[in-house]
């Protein structure tokens, strides 16, 4: 089981790292690269806590082998803010959306992908957009409100 070299781009930085062939992308991010924002909840793709963007699309990083990310673009919660907080992060803070916080990195990555594809989602579209993310505190109401507000603010900002 020789280690393999993973070359990819993570949060806009080129990365080369030696990893075990059986590492998941989530393992490589957390254990080898110190990016502990993505969380392991279930490890089977049901909870969404490990959500990262692979070439811009949200995926469950616990179900991706790390080597499958070779030559691809990975974005984690650590790469969501550019300088100031991302409008979604800012809205989550103001609404008090995180309770225990464990699901929040995954929810934010799912929400960011949603707003990129659909800048002004309806409430139902927001709920559908985060349907792959479980919050065991069941704090969905404030999460949905925060996403809706971030969508309003960013699309108004884009118009201004």
């Amino acid at each position: 089981m020789a280690k393999q070299v993973l070359s990819c781009t993570i949060n806009d930085e080129p990365v080369e790292v030696l990893i075990q062939p059986y590492s998941t992308l989530l393992d490589a991010l957390r254990e080898d690269l110190g990016l502990t924002g993505p969380k392991e909840g279930c490890g089977t793709g049901d909870c969404g806590a490990c959500t990262v963007h692979l070439d811009g699309q949200p995926v469950a990083s616990c179900l991706v082998l790390a080597m499958q990310a070779r030559n691809r673009n990975v974005r984690t919660i650590e790469g969501l803010a550019k300088g100031a907080l991302h409008p979604l992060q800012d809205a989550f803070v103001r609404h008090g959306a995180p309770q225990c916080g464990f699901c929040i990195p995954g929810v934010l990555m799912a929400a960011a992908a949603l707003l990129e594809a659909n800048p002004r989602p309806t409430e139902e579209e927001i709920r559908y957009g985060i349907a792959g993310n479980l919050c065991r505190c069941t704090g969905y109401t404030k999460i949905v409100a925060a996403i809706a507000e971030a969508a309003t603010l960013t699309s108004e900002g884009a118009r201004a």
Binding site: M1, G45, D46, L63, L65, Q68, G132
Partner: protein, 293 residues
């Protein structure tokens, strides 16, 4: 996770070579959404895993005018759900892609993986069965084509030998005045597994049903076609009464078990309800279909 070596082929030929050498000890990974949980829980213990994500040809969606659709085995559920041609000409297939897991799963999960995993509940199997799709399989002895109706042998069992891989699905064009739908019953809307799934496909000529296909999931060890129900529709003007009769006949094709998702009786009831609903929608869609579709 249990340890294994990972190989990274770039071509189908390379995959076949690896499988010829190590077939019994090797597993293919495409999206990984079925394989990784089975590796993590110890259900599968391969020494070698072969990653298909570097084999570009497996991700192609090819549309030939009038002659149907060719889907690479590693096309994702998300691609199937969003590809405009599939949405317009093969709506049942697009609907089944949209029902697989969550968005985070659909961006990974592949049509080939859904079929090769051979779960009785596989959502993309019924529409492909109803569309008369063929599986293109490559191995050391070359290529062979298998109708999807004979691809599944049992729960988690297919006709694939250890040194073969599914490379493509060939879906004939359903023809003008054709329509289809896939519906499933689940207790919750997202991230659930079909208690029963039904795909129906109807093709009309001068208002008469020229071809009917109905495929059922989660009611037998493999996805099955409801042949008697199809025969009752073929050659007839499709009325609500005939749809009701076909829905009753479809129940006979089901051999359901009772499990934590539902009793056998409930599943038989769902086959009838979902067959009636999908046939009704298929008929509406066939009537509305553009002639050149």
């Amino acid at each position: 996770m249990r340890r294994f070596d990972l190989t990274l082929p770039r071509t189908v030929d390379d995959c076949v070579k690896i499988l010829s050498d190590r077939g019994d000890d090797a597993k293919l990974v495409a999206g990984g959404t079925d394989l990784l949980p089975q590796l993590k829980n110890g259900l599968l213990k391969p020494r070698y895993v072969v990653d298909l994500s570097g084999v570009e040809t497996l991700r192609a969606i090819r549309v030939a005018n009038g002659s149907g659709l060719r889907l690479g085995a590693a096309v994702t559920a998300r691609a199937i759900e969003t590809e405009p041609h599939i949405l317009s000409a093969y709506p049942a297939l697009a609907e089944s892609g949209a029902l697989v897991g969550s968005l985070q799963i659909r961006n990974l999960a592949t049509v080939g993986g859904n079929l090769c995993n051979a779960a009785p509940s596989a959502d993309m199997a019924p529409p492909l069965l109803a569309l008369d799709a063929e599986a293109v399989i490559v191995g050391p002895r070359g290529e062979r084509r298998v109708p999807l109706t004979t691809f599944f042998l049992g729960v988690r069992k297919t006709v694939l030998a250890a040194d073969e891989l599914l490379v493509e699905l060939v879906v004939p064009a359903p023809g003008p005045r054709s329509g289809g739908q896939y519906l499933r019953h689940t207790p919750r809307r997202e991230l659930d597994i079909a208690v029963v799934g039904v795909a129906s496909q109807l093709t009309l000529t001068d208002g008469v049903c020229r071809k009917a296909a109905i495929a059922l999931a989660s009611v037998a060890p493999t996805p099955v076609r409801a042949v008697a129900a199809e025969r009752a529709l073929t050659g007839q003007a499709v009325t609500p009464e005939l749809i009701e009769r076909a829905a009753e006949l479809a129940v006979d094709a089901a051999r359901p078990i009772s499990d934590q998702r539902g009793s056998a009786d409930f599943r038989r009831h769902l086959v009838k309800v979902l067959t009636r609903r999908t046939l009704t929608t298929a008929l509406e869609r066939a009537r509305a279909a553009r002639q050149e579709a």
